[in-house]
Amino acid sequence: MSEPALHTTLNLGPTHPATHGIFQNILTMDGEEILAAEQTIGYIHRAFEKIAEHRPYYQITPLTDRLNYCSAPINNLGYHMAVEKLAGISTNKRIDYMRIILMELARITDHLICNSVVGVDSGALTGFVYVFQERERVYEIYEEVSGARLTTNMGRIGGFERDFSPAAIRKIREFLQNLPKVLQEFEHLLLRNRIFMDRTIGVGRISAERALNYGFTGPNLRAAGVDYDVRVMNPYSSYDDFDFRIPVGSSGDTYDRFCVRQEEVWQSLNLIRNALDNLPEGAYHTDVPAYYLPPKEAVYDKMEALIWHFKIVMGEVDIPQGEIYHSVEGANGELGFYLVSDGGRTPYRLHFRRPCFVYYQAFPEMIRGGVLSDAILTMSSMNVIAGELDA
């Protein structure tokens, strides 16, 4: 009879510098090999779905900032589009294109963070520090557009609170000009780097079939070889006006996820350039007085504006009854809003379909049989954002 195996239990997290967020994994290890992992999540649960049932619609946007805080504008604008779908508001092309520009900027920052962190976890800190400079420039664009940097609370139901300023457009143009050079250098650093390839190829692999069964979406699903992208499948915000490619991987490993994200950044750059070049004339907000605050001057000397201002601020606007599901392609997958309205001033039920809550449950299966250092890389390449995970 053989000796019973000696297994070690290892606590990875909840606060561990290598996990980039607060989640715990209790690993059962045989030497360096991972046999099982038990996940604990919910450390930063803030009850957004409950809070949302008690707030007028326009006050929910700041909650969505705090889901995936690496790409807050996608959450904000996605939520606005969900409310617009429920209320039957259609926006003009200028608003749509402005939204595309901001959402793609957000996607770029999110992918830059994720990919550079994959670099950090495999021992290459340089790229991380280098691309963070570019992320900073995007935050300056957010600042021009919304006044905030991280939790942007961007836009309003029906459009934007202000138009792109000349400074905002100048900063976007500068960003479009600078990023390709940085991105190319970053790719030279890692993409064909022997050490990086050895560390990532075949690591944290998942098949297309398992990925679909686990509800994967976004770059993680595409890395496994399924070309599902909400922007193409259910175009919103006039994405169908643009021509862009959806990169797919083949083996669903860490390297493929890295490559898919990297290519998506290039595609997003093209999208932003096209949207900015073809930015149509028009209003930056829709004429929906029941949802969109009137200009402050009008509130002071026009009765109607004062009434609408009062109704919106006091949460007295009634929205049509109904239920809708609206999804957008978030930076890490299909970000969905299931919104039920009973006609009252607050949602009856608002459920967020948070992509990483759905796919993070596959993590134990993906790291089983691997070594600890690979598990860290797998986690960072899955792009699990604690705020979104715990809602």
């Binding site: 999540i41 919910g42 649960h45 009850a47 779905e49 409950k50 809070i51 049932e53 008690h54 707030r55 007028p56 779908k85 398992r210 679909l212 069964n213 686990y214 509800g215 399924v226 599902y228 499948m233 259910n234 006091m314 949460g315 007295e316 109904g322 239920e323 809708i324 599901y325 609206h326 999804s327 299909e334 969905g336 299931y338 039920v340 001033r345 039920r349 459920h351 379909r353 809550f357 759905v358 449950q361 596959a362 715990d390 809602a391």
Partner: protein, 165 residues
């Protein structure tokens, strides 16, 4: 839209007495079914080639306290090949709310069902690991049910009566 109608007809033909309501006014077909057929129906949606709803987008609880069956679960499925979506709703009583798990069909349902249990107290029979997921384990109520207020009602320093909450 034609194929959506065909799908509803097939479902009617197969599960007729269990289908309580079909609604086409929403953004996707909404089918309300009895809880006794939910597992068979979802298996049929997933495994029948003509249906092809092999992707579970999301699953969440909902509470209508005034209804005879107050607690509900809403499933969203997606047919990725034909790009069709469908919403299935089912309701259970608040005493002993039980539904069969769909984790045997979708691995994704594991945490979604735990979330619905955590917030609404819906028990998914056959679930491999049904315990609280986002809240602390010793919580003795289900916070998303409508009877639980958002804020501590005994507090006197916060009076939001006039501010739309």
């Amino acid at each position: 839209m034609e194929s959506a109608k065909a799908i509803i007809e097939t479902l009617h033909a197969k599960f007729s007495p269990g289908i309580l309501k079909v609604d086409h006014s929403s953004d996707m077909p909404v089918v309300t079914v009895e809880s006794s057929i939910i597992h068979d129906l979802i298996r049929f949606l997933k495994e029948e080639p003509a249906m092809g709803f092999s992707f579970l987008t999301t699953l969440c609880g909902i509470h209508y306290p005034d209804d005879p069956l107050p607690l509900g679960v809403v499933y969203h499925f997606h047919n990725l090949e034909k790009n069709l979506r469908i919403r299935i709703r089912t309701f259970v009583p608040s005493e002993d709310p039980q539904l069969p798990t769909v984790t045997d069909l979708f691995s994704a349902a594991n945490w979604m069902e735990r979330e619905a249990y955590d917030f609404y107290g819906i028990v998914f029979t056959g679930h491999p690991n049904l315990k609280r997921i986002l809240n602390v384990e010793y919580l003795d109520y289900f916070p998303m049910r409508k009877e639980y207020p958002l804020e501590d009602p005994t507090r006197e320093d916060k009076d939001d009566r006039y501010f739309g909450r």
